[in-house]
């Protein structure tokens, strides 16, 4: 794989994954009550922490997703998303082990996916991409490059 080609693929994946998280975050921030409800339906966290967790996750997705698209703190943003995805996968495995049938709440209530192997596989694919970005991104495609260099 040529250097340019590899860079293009990496940039394309960054934008796709970043946009998916920004969209998911937008839906969650718009209706935090619904997302907190989704968090509680997993029955993993104490109810008391569900709202705080919902707010922290939604905003982490927004900021990290935006950073990934723009190429600002790209590796760190990819690390944030990798941490979130690992938590999501662990929570989904717990839900499956408990035998609960619930909506994953990944992109808000509408058009979501039931927690199951497909949802876990989707998160594993996203996790692999974020880990690759963490490892391979060299900052060559970023908004910083578009701004005039500081002297």
């Amino acid at each position: 794989m040529g250097l340019l080609r590899r860079k293009e693929i990496l940039f394309f994946l960054r934008v796709v994954v970043g946009a998916a998280f920004v969209y998911g975050a937008y839906v969650k921030i718009l209706a935090p009550q619904k997302f907190a409800m989704s968090v509680r339906s997993y029955q993993v966290l104490p109810i008391a922490l569900s709202n705080f967790f919902a707010i922290a996750v939604a905003w982490s997705e927004l900021i990290a997703g935006a950073c990934l698209i723009l190429g600002v703190f790209t590796r760190q943003a990819a690390a944030s998303l990798a941490i979130l995805l690992t938590v999501f996968i662990a929570a989904m495995i717990v839900v499956l082990a408990k035998g609960l049938v619930i909506d994953c709440g990944c992109f808000g209530p509408e058009g979501s996916l039931t927690v199951g192997w497909l949802a876990i596989l989707r998160n594993l694919v996203l996790l692999s991409i974020t880990l690759w970005v963490m490892r391979a991104d060299d900052g060559s495609v970023s908004i910083r490059r578009l701004l005039p260099a500081r002297r």
């Binding site: 922290a56 990290a64 703190f73 760190q76 990798a82 941490i83 619930i102 909506d103």
Partner: protein, 192 residues
């Protein structure tokens, strides 16, 4: 490895900053939610269904389900648990003073449910948020049920209703299993 750990630390810093921004945004927005959710979980699954299993005869004088507690107390947590017996539910139905919610999935609801019950499937709860918000007056009597005594969908639904501000929510722990066994009024495609 060192770079990986440094990036992970950076990732945690981004998350911390994002959480602070989220808390600030939540505190200034119109429809904010409490950071610490104070309503305690409803837990009645596995309790007595308020019925003698051996005879199938209704018994509303014994068992934990016969002693409903007051709900929606400002204290939250302790004392927010409440269940309704089959006879209490029957009495409320006859008076027409109760909203009954079936927390099971739509397909099993369609096959058979307590007469007059509406369906809010617990597995897709956030989709029904608006409907739940406009369900009834905040102090209206609401009774949730699901399959039977070991099912906790109705408990989860009751917890969410209390979080939304409903103060008189109870769970009929016997659920569809006991209601059907008793031959009480029911509706659905597989109900005679």
């Amino acid at each position: 490895m060192k770079t990986f750990l440094r990036n992970l630390t950076g990732g945690l810093v981004i998350m911390a900053v994002a959480a602070v921004l989220g808390i600030i945004h939540n505190s200034v927005r119109g429809s904010s939610i409490p950071l610490i959710q104070k309503v305690g979980a409803v837990s009645t699954a596995g309790q007595s269904a308020g019925e003698d299993e051996a005879t199938g005869a209704p018994d509303d004088t014994t068992g934990p389900a016969a002693t409903p507690t007051t709900q929606g107390e400002a204290s939250g947590g302790a004392g927010t648990e409440g269940s309704a017996t089959m006879e209490e539910l029957r009495a409320m139905m006859e008076k027409g003073t109760v909203t009954i919610i079936d927390a099971r999935a739509a397909d099993v609801y369609a096959e058979g449910h307590i007469a007059g019950a509406i369906n809010i499937p617990y597995d897709r709860l956030p989709e029904y948020y608006e409907r739940l918000a406009e369900l009834a007056a905040p102090d209206a009597a609401i009774v949730c049920y699901c399959f039977g005594p070991t099912c906790d969908f109705s408990d989860q639904l009751a917890t969410e209703l209390r979080i939304m501000g409903y103060t008189n929510v109870r769970v009929f722990t016997g659920g569809w299993e006991y209601w059907q066994k008793a031959g009480y009024p029911a509706e659905g495609t597989k109900v005679d």
